[in-house]
Symmetry: C2
Subunit: 166 residues, 2 copies
Amino acid sequence: MEFKESKEKFIQSWGVLGSSWGINKTMAQIHALLLITPEVLSTEEIMEELKISRGNANMNIRALMDWGIVTKSFKAGERKDFFFADKDIWEVARKITKERSKREIEPVIKILNELKNVKGNDAHINQFRETVNELEAFTSKLNSIVDKFSKADEHWFYKKLLKLVK
Amino acid sequence: MEFKESKEKFIQSWGVLGSSWGINKTMAQIHALLLITPEVLSTEEIMEELKISRGNANMNIRALMDWGIVTKSFKAGERKDFFFADKDIWEVARKITKERSKREIEPVIKILNELKNVKGNDAHINQFRETVNELEAFTSKLNSIVDKFSKADEHWFYKKLLKLVK
DNA sequence: CTGAACTTTCAGTAATTATTGAAAGTTTAT
DNA sequence: ATAAACTTTCAATAATTACTGAAAGTTCAG
């Protein structure tokens, strides 16, 4: 396969994967492009490569910076901004995990904890309470694993996981 | 908080969580409703409770059955279908994990493996190859953990995880 | 068979989410 | 201070995705 074709396929696939995990397509594609590019890229270059508008590029680059997986950089004598992606996949996974836990899992745990306190004692309320309790326990456990993961240094966790998988 | 209010909040929250993880809102809400309902429900009852149309209810119930987390049931002397959700959260998580791995992760691994073979040797191609290799390695490892998880019996894995989190 | 009870499908529509592009804002060299 | 170079914002629009409801399909008791 030609490089150009491979590159397009890679960017395309990463976009699809992103969409199915609640990350928008363009954001995932910009990230993919930066991941495979050895040097830094300007907004213009990203726009051109992905055939997207300035506004779209700007917003999604910013989102990637908010997630902490893309960084702004400067070139001597140049006025515009350049960007590059953290190439360490482990680190990227950690940051994404942490961010999604914070944005999506923690608020749900909070709500589940509130809902535990519902009063009453017919079959419906009992089933409700049981489900909420189980979900809360499960989600909290999951979240604490995720948290451990997002704080661990690569080696510690990696070794543990490998052992787990054997 | 009143039961009715709690119930609505729960269904609502589960819908939001679903959306941000690529599961459609209604599907998540139907699942939430079935989870907290001790007895089986008919399509009509689900429609009524969630204020959704017959078509929508039908399609999403079917999707839940495809995922293996909702089951059709029959009542003696009644002609219509009734449904209930598997209440074992662990089991539900396993099934969802397995299904998403199959639908979303495995195809990506396949593509990454194809892309490993790109020929050439300038800086761009080298970076491309390196990124693709790392992503493939990472994703495969992740997937094998997920696979282990989806096959393990509750106890084995649970114990290991607990040790991990300590 | 027939038709009532029920389920499924799907074209049309609504709701949501993403994208554009031009205008406003900011920064910096002169 | 000015204006060129660049970035950000956001209202309008496009694209995508979800939902409705009526019609077609299926099943089964009589």
